[in-house]
């Protein structure tokens, strides 16, 4: 490439600025939390936030809810994706466009009836009030994801399984699942992130019981009630809630980004 050295440098400078702006708000809450209200530097704000905000239980709730949603969703969408990619499913042509609608749907249109439904079932303010709808809302993405993966598996692999006398479920379990590891791992990461960060559903479906509130919801209540609270304590609470996701992100970012961008474009 014959581009001047100056242009290369300037463009990189632009990229550096864009990256700093992207990261700066996160850094700002960390700094603000460390600085403390009285100007001293230390972890005092974190202790206060942890004690007052009940973030220990909130993080556990978020973890339990997200893991359950991911495990159940991956199980049901793998089966459905397998069927839609490799079998002639009656009504299959109708299912895909309907699921496609589910991808762009605003949760606002489902959240009211879900509140009613969970009240009727006596599940309001329990983990299940979040887990069950979140599985339903994750199905469209998951089915498309797994279907496109299974459709990309070479036909020879399936034929080999057939010649060896494998039945349909055996083919799925013994031949396809083992090669689906990376695709499932990326899907699980994306679903975990979406579930962990979901706010509106949590606000509506588990509003009363602090013991089942998710981390973002607990932070919202803590920061909302906190006009009188020291801003550094609010910042510390935000750091506590962000930390598990940011740590996981640092480890998984390659998989997550390539998965999200390539999956989206498909």
């Amino acid at each position: 490439m014959k581009v001047s050295r100056t242009e290369t440098t300037l463009t990189h400078a632009l990229l550096v600025v864009a990256a700093i702006i992207a990261v700066y708000p996160l850094i700002s809450i960390v700094l603000s939390a460390l600085r403390g209200g009285d100007g001293s530097i230390g972890l005092g704000s974190f202790e206060l936030a942890w004690e007052r905000g009940g973030f220990g239980t909130a993080l556990l709730s978020s973890a339990f809810i997200s893991i359950t949603v991911v495990v159940v969703t991956v199980a049901v969408v793998s089966l459905a994706g397998f069927a839609l990619a490799t079998m002639r499913v009656p009504g299959g042509r109708l299912m895909l466009p309907i699921l496609l609608l589910g991808l762009v749907l605003p949760y606002e249109v489902t959240v009211l009836p879900l509140y009613q439904l969970m009240t009727d079932w006596g599940l309001l303010d329990t983990w299940w009030a979040l887990i069950l709808p979140q599985i339903g809302l994750s199905v469209p993405l998951g089915v498309f994801w797994m279907r496109s993966f299974f459709a990309s598996v070479p036909g020879e692999l399936l034929e080999a399984a057939r010649i060896d006398g494998a039945g349909r479920f055996e083919t799925f379990r013994l031949v396809l699942l083992p090669v689906a590891g990376p695709a499932i791992a990326t899907l699980a990461t994306i679903l975990f992130l979406f579930t962990w960060n979901e706010f509106l559903l949590a606000l509506v479906l588990v509003p009363q019981d602090p013991l089942v509130q998710t981390a973002p919801l607990a932070l919202s209540f803590f920061a909302g009630a906190g006009r009188t609270i020291d801003p550094s304590v609010t910042a510390a609470a935000a750091v506590i809630v962000a930390a598990p996701i940011v740590i996981a992100y640092v480890i998984l970012q390659r998989r997550l980004i390539s998965g999200l961008t390539e999956g989206a474009v498909k």
Binding site: T8, A19, V23, A83, V111, N197, Q253, S258, V265
Partner: protein, 323 residues
Amino acid sequence: MAVTSATRAVVAGPSGRRRRSPVAGYSWSSLLYVAPALLFFAVFVIYPICISVQTSFYEYDGLTLATPVGAANYVAVFTDPSLREALLHSLVLLVFYAALPVLIGLVLAGALSRIRIYGLTFFRAALFIPQVLSSVVVAVAWRGLLAADGPVNDTLRAVGLGSVATSWLGDFDTALPAVGAIGTWVQYGLCMVLFLGGIVGIDRSLYEAARLDGAGAVREFRAITLPALRPQISIALILCITFALRNFDIIWNTTRGGPGTSTAVPSVYIYQDAFQNRALGQASALAVVLTLLILVIVGLVQLALRERSEIRPRSLRRSGGLR
């Protein structure tokens, strides 16, 4: 027998399907595989949507008997001044949440397409950070940044623009653009990462050829980069527009629609009508309108940026499989 025909369907794959008659090849037992996922989807997505549509034609407080009111709730969506204002705010936010991020992403992508990028993985990871943070964390962080004594105002004062400094989220005139700026921040990294992914797939020899023909940076961008990024632009617009119109989290956790109603958007009214004013019919009608609006705009974007088969950049053919 069923197993054999199913396995044949498996082996034949998509191309083999069309040759058989549509009914004979159906594998009814395949429904067992699809059923669990569809059950969750039907009970927790489809059924609630149907209920929302039904409720939207009633006046209902959630407790007493609902009275049918025809389309009155829908008429209110378009005639009630505060709801119309909210829809207007959504359109303003579309500029901040969708147009600006895509433009910023395109400009930077255009510049980056011309050079060899060092540290791409690192930059991608940094740019993507706003996407993984919980919206509540984002809101708390930006409330601090935009506060009267926050870093943004400090910077303005430092460069002699102290007169512009204000409580950005608390001022009637600046609250909507301030909330918009947060959205721009959340989305521009996503757009850039999407476009960077597209650029990596463009055949470098196209640029060499363009330069031999004497094309400048702008023509290069319009002739090569922009057409090649069509699928990425389309998906970026869809993601950003959906995010803009759904936008509840950031507004709820920064301004609650205030001060006054200066940042109120449909989703805030949906929540308030449903859970504070107990006007469930009105809330449902607004939710249905919002859904239709999103579907129509997403449909239009897909139609406008639909791929024409004759221009099919290499990057597309390669993005077929998963990593």
